[in-house]
């Protein structure tokens, strides 16, 4: 019997679709608002993302990733593709300082899907990165800046920025999949 929300969506449970919107609507909306400058475009984008999430639900494997991470991954992929399709480069001017990585105390429970554990684990991994990797990933992933814009902003060669991003992501993966990494996730397979 399916247990996670996405497994229920994949099984055709109509109630789970609405629960999915209630659980992940805020997360997906916030992702879209960071990457899509205009509110009306962001609303269109969120609709596209939800369709993509439902279509991808049957591919969700709880042994590979937590459900929230899976949803965020599908959402980011769709939003990045959409922005490239529209030939608009992300140009957010909003930015937050690295010390604000501590999110666990602020993160709300999304109607039963508790993202706090996942966010806290991810924050723990990010804080173990080298400062230059943290900075590059914050700008590239959270602020949605292009690598070239990051290079200009940090006055670094483009190749150096790309290396920080690449090595930072690889390190985050290592940290999140190592056997002792995830308190609360018994077997990260």
């Amino acid at each position: 019997m399916p247990q996670t929300l996405l497994e229920r969506v994949a099984a055709g449970d109509v109630a789970a679709v609405q629960q999915c919107i209630d659980c992940y609507g805020g997360l997906i909306w916030s992702l879209a608002r960071r990457l899509v400058p205009h509110q009306a475009d962001a609303e269109d984008a969120v609709q596209e993302v939800f369709i993509a999430v439902w279509k991808s639900a049957e591919r969700f494997d709880p042994s590979v990733a937590e459900e929230t991470t899976f949803v965020a991954m599908i959402a980011r992929r769709r939003l990045i593709d959409r922005q490239r399709r529209l030939a608009r480069r992300i140009d957010s001017t909003r930015s937050i300082p690295i010390e604000d990585v501590d999110v666990a105390s602020e993160t709300s429970n999304h109607n039963g899907v508790d993202v706090r554990d996942e966010a806290a684990r991810a924050a723990d991994a990010v804080t173990q990165l080298r400062p230059e990797q943290q900075e590059a990933l914050r700008l590239a992933v959270y602020d949605g800046w292009s690598h070239q814009r990051i290079a200009d902003h940090l006055q670094m060669p483009l190749g150096t920025v790309k290396t920080h991003v690449r090595r930072g992501l690889i390190r985050v993966r290592e940290l999140l999949t190592s056997p002792g990494a995830a308190a609360g996730k018994e077997a990260t397979s």
């Binding site: 909306w29 960071r34 609303e43 969120v46 590979v64 914050r138 990260t188």
Partner: protein, 81 residues
């Protein structure tokens, strides 16, 4: 992130995966990456996109805004079709 599968050893392919996870790929780069991934089933193809999603959660999960009611209603209507 599937630790049963490996990351590619080729730095260029890893960079394409990192680029895809952060700013997306051009059509030609996407084709190149897809060609590579199609020939190596033991590669964790989504690894760095999962990692980027986790990074976003680290920075952004505490700042989630509520989905506007109008957008929620549109999505519900779409789902009902």
């Amino acid at each position: 992130m599937n630790s049963r599968l490996a990351l590619p050893r080729d730095e260029h392919i890893l960079q394409l995966m990192a680029d895809r996870a952060t700013e997306g790929l051009s059509h030609s780069d996407a084709m190149e990456l897809n060609r590579y991934l199609a020939h190596d089933p033991d590669v964790d193809r989504d690894a760095l996109e999962y990692a980027a999603a986790a990074v976003w959660l680290a920075f952004g999960a505490g700042r989630c805004e509520a989905l506007p009611p109008r957008a929620r209603n549109r999505i519900l209507s779409q789902a009902a079709r």
